[in-house]
């Protein structure tokens, strides 16, 4: 663990303190309000040894990745259209801004009415709630491209594909990675809401089950599962970022 992720002392103290306070509270409140920490831990680890539970966790992870991948691809296309044509930008900007302002819960309702199957519903919700952020972040990265580097590259007369490969792609990679980090958190919150309302599997569905059983330990275990997933993927992105942006001075990279 130390080689891959080394937590700071402050992180350990803060989270350890929260666990202690929770455990302390469990002595004074009933288990359906504050279950003891060992009970939560037991339920959390039980998820990893039960095939059905793992499948539920895997379903949520798959939905997050599928939704983000779809949104990312669409966001890249929209960003390039907006970046290359001022006219397109004038039409697309207000549309994306409008879409961004619609709450996730409204998209859930719309998706349930529009789509029959669970997966298309959740995919639609994931894409609509994250595509604006992807588009804007990638557009910002594209527009921040150095005019001087552009002129320099152009002086060697590259073809379109070469121009994209040697200049545009390396320029927008940092923006793309930031977009993934930001949208991962958003997507994990939205997917739970979508599963809570319209799915028969996944972490959101499991949370609904625990709520109906009044099982606070189970609800917390599934919540921890989602948080752990997000943290692991974020670490993967940070490692990828460090590798891809190794050329930057240390101070400019993610700590």
């Amino acid at each position: 663990m130390s080689a891959w992720y080394k937590p700071r002392t402050e992180t350990v103290v803060a989270l350890g303190g929260l666990v202690l306070v929770w455990q302390f509270a469990s002595y004074f409140f009933p288990p359906f309000l504050f279950p003891p920490v060992p009970a939560i831990a037991q339920k959390f680890f039980a998820i990893f040894i039960d095939a059905e539970s793992l499948a539920n966790a895997g379903a949520t992870a798959g939905r997050i990745f599928a939704g983000l991948a779809g949104s990312f691809l669409l966001g890249v296309v929209i960003a390039f259209v907006m970046g290359r044509s001022e006219r397109s930008y004038r039409y697309l900007f207000p549309l994306l801004n409008f879409i961004q302002g619609i709450p996730a819960l409204s998209w859930v309702v719309i998706a349930i009415i529009w789509f029959k199957g669970t997966e298309p519903r959740i995919f639609f919700i994931m894409v609509t709630t994250t595509v604006s952020a992807f588009s804007f972040q990638i557009l910002d990265a594209y527009r921040s491209m150095s005019k001087e580097l552009f002129e320099m590259t152009l002086s060697f007369r590259p073809g379109r594909r070469d121009l994209f490969r040697v200049l545009i792609l390396p320029t927008i990679v940092p923006g793309m990675l930031t977009a993934w980090k930001v949208n991962l958190g958003n997507a994990s919150r939205v997917v739970v809401v979508a599963e809570l309302v319209g799915a028969t599997g996944g972490i959101g569905y499991q949370l609904l089950q625990q709520q109906q059983l009044f099982d606070m330990a189970g609800a917390l275990a599934w919540t921890l599962m989602l948080v752990a997933f997000v943290l692991v993927v974020q670490q993967v992105i940070i490692r990828l970022e460090r590798w891809l942006l190794a050329y930057r001075p240390t101070a400019e990279r993610s700590a």
Binding site: E151, M152, L154, S155, D162, V166, P170, Y247, R248
Partner: protein, 262 residues
């Protein structure tokens, strides 16, 4: 479609007018009836201050913009209409080093050769040769942020020479360097241009630099047209310096020496 004889570069009655931003009807005249020729292998220094149209002249020559009227020819062809033909034939050394921060020194030198479609081994060998020639052996794997200003400018010079250009355009490449580094790089640059027989157009603000690097000095008026065309080779340098200074004063272009004296 060659119509330039022995000339590597021909500007004939070139006018370039830029439209001002939306809502304004007037246009900005950057180049006004600019005419000059540069012979193959000749080194021409262009003196002119910011706004005198030398960047526009550069962009016209590089084929990045089209003249409003007149003729621009490089190696007998139209650099704007036959843009891709000039791949590897024209290279530019800019005022700043303009290195790609995500590429190592070696990869930056390889850029132009890579865009020519040469295979990896060949371009690596060429780039390594140029880095060694410019005293950067041992820094091949360094990223630009780890190099000094002088080293970065050397990398950019190596990048330009690595494609083996017939025409080299230089836009004040040594102006941001300290005097000692600048002087050393000027000498190295001059040696490389002479050895390779490269036709070069070198823009500068300094008369001394123009006298050192050019066979000929062109002084630009504002908007760009020739205020003086002086041959350096074989002439009395003090006479040329005085003529250049007078031309620059008359064209409203203060030379560095003049400013220093003031």
């Amino acid at each position: 479609m060659s119509d330039a004889g022995d000339s590597a570069i021909v500007f004939r009655d070139v006018v370039k007018r830029f439209l001002l931003p939306e809502g304004r009807e007037e246009s900005f005249l950057a180049v006004e009836n600019l005419s000059f020729e540069v012979a193959r292998g000749e080194r021409v220094a262009v003196l002119g201050r910011t706004g005198c149209g030398k960047s526009t002249m550069f962009n016209l020559l590089a084929g990045l913009i089209e003249p409003t009227s007149g003729t621009v020819r490089a190696l007998g062809r139209d650099p704007f209409r036959e843009f891709n033909w000039f791949r590897g034939r024209i290279a530019v050394v800019f005022q700043g080093d303009r290195l790609m921060p995500w590429r190592t020194a070696l990869q930056n030198v390889e850029l132009g050769i890579e865009l020519l479609g040469r295979d990896k081994e060949e371009r690596r060998a060429v780039a390594l040769g140029w880095l060694e020639r410019l005293g950067l052996k041992g820094h091949e794997s360094d990223f630009p942020h780890a190099l000094s200003g002088g080293m970065r400018q050397r990398v950019s010079i190596a990048r330009a020479f690595a494609v083996g250009p017939e025409i080299l355009l230089c836009d004040e490449p040594f102006s941001a360097l300290d005097e000692l580094t600048g002087q050393r790089l000027r000498e190295e640059y001059l040696q490389l241009v002479k050895e390779n027989g490269t036709t070069s157009v070198f823009v500068t603000h300094s008369i001394s630099e123009a006298l050192q690097l050019g066979d000929r000095i062109l002084v630009f008026h504002r908007p760009a047209r020739i205020a003086l065309d002086a041959r350096v080779a074989g002439g009395d340098r003090e006479d040329i310096r005085r003529c250049v200074l007078e031309a620059m004063t008359a064209s409203g272009t203060p030379a560095e020496e003049e400013k220093d004296a003031a």
